[in-house]
């Protein structure tokens, strides 16, 4: 049974028959996390920068919404393949592809989150004498955080998936390297690595969900609970 062998493969830390010096499964898993982490960090700086600024200014909504929709339509394998064709697929180009795919999701969510904060609340804050940056930091960002985090969560899962696909386009690193190398790892190794990728994505999603819960202001959490109970 392949799945049993795959679990064995995981618990033996990814051995390769006849090659004891091959990197371990843990090594590849950490590599995937590392590649994804860098991509997410860069995407956050760019995406939140653009989305929050435009949302605060309530301007260029056409740009924020439509560019993001087109971004979502881009097939990751195609982007990676094009990166490989034009630039050669090393770590830098892989990260570039991850950023291209993740930024639109983050921009869209942070734009909608900040832009959608109720006008009355913003007016009240201004009436109390808050400056623009203060309104952003103390009113708009806390209220927008749940939605912003939803975007970050989607982007992170997307990045982990794409980092795996990068191996198909020729980047030799991360868990995808095992999945695309059935000759050395056999089907059990491929399935073992696939299980690791799936668990990794679910863990990333789950832990960001937990962070999302923590950063949601208590008042909003109560409101959401009341809405759920009322529906």
């Amino acid at each position: 049974m392949v799945f049993v062998d795959a679990i064995k493969f995981i618990f033996q830390n990814g051995p390769v028959a006849g090659d004891p010096s091959a990197p371990t499964l843990a090594h590849y898993t950490l590599q995937t996390l590392w590649i994804s982490g860098i991509g997410l960090a860069i995407s956050l700086v760019i995406g939140l920068g653009i989305g929050v600024t435009l949302g605060h200014l309530h301007r260029y909504s056409f740009f924020a919404v439509n560019v993001s929709n087109i971004g979502r339509a881009l097939p990751s394998l195609a982007i990676l393949a094009l990166g490989d064709a034009f630039l050669g697929l090393g770590l830098t180009v892989t990260e570039l592809a991850l950023v291209i795919l993740a930024v639109p999701v983050i921009v869209l969510n942070s734009y909608v989150a900040i832009d959608g904060v109720e006008g009355d609340i913003v007016d009240a804050a201004r009436g109390m004498g808050m400056t623009g940056p203060e309104v952003l930091r103390r009113v708009e960002l806390p209220l927008g955080l749940p939605l912003i985090f939803a975007g970050i969560r989607t982007a992170a899962v997307y990045i982990v998936a794409t980092a795996t696909i990068a191996s198909l386009a020729g980047y030799n690193g991360g868990l995808g390297a095992i999945i695309t190398n059935e000759a050395s790892y056999h089907l059990s190794g491929v399935i073992g690595a696939a299980i690791c990728v799936a668990v990794l994505a679910l863990l990333v999603d789950g832990s960001l969900g937990a962070v999302q819960h923590v950063v949601t202001p208590r008042g909003l959490r109560l409101q959401a609970a009341a809405a759920a109970a009322g529906s």
């Binding site: 087109i70 394998l77 195609a78 034009f86 795996t164 696909i165 990728v197």
Partner: protein, 246 residues
Amino acid sequence: MSTPLAVGPVIPNFGGGGSQGLTCVQQNRLFCPSWVSSNWSNVLWPALRQHIVLTVIAVGIGFAISLALAVLATRARWLERPVVAVAGILFTIPSLALFELLTPIKGLGLSVTTAEVALVSYTLLILFRNISTGLREVPADVREAAEGVGMTSGQILWRVELPLALPAIVAGLRTATVTVIALATVAAVVCNEGLGAPIFAAIQEDVFKTELIAAGLLAIGLAILADVLLVGLQRVLTPWARARSV
């Protein structure tokens, strides 16, 4: 027979295109329009057609399942949580991993069925959530009025609730279609069909890039075109939404 082989890198053109110098393909330039035109009908067009078929079948089946589950969930509220939980897990599993995880299952293996099972599973979360949100947001007054004029619950569903939920449903179809087009390129790992197939062939040869670039651009173009077409469909199907916003 002057055309080079279907899926080939640097094939000397013995048939002689008439030109004295080396052709673009022989020189292995980055992008050769001549290769695209001579391989359109035997490589690119079949791949594009397969890609569209893969997408339409996946979205169609996914829509049928999601619609049934969403309608059931309006009658039995407790269904919603487990459906969203399972669909959410399926949606989160990265595509390459899901395709591989399905292959050892009896009856699936390396086949189009495996590809479709994975693609359908990615549509469920998007479609179920959109359809059930759309159905839930039908105002209670409207439903009561429909009951008041003597409609049965089946009539209410088809003639009142679903039409009112249409904008949310079409929005879900749009997201699901674009997502499936993107993921279907990866499906080539299990079924060697669709635009992913020429991309993989080119990556494995790692010499000739035209095929890769052409198929990649076709996938991106198809996704954008589908998105635009579905926005159009959304506008045609829901004229009242347009009238209201003017």
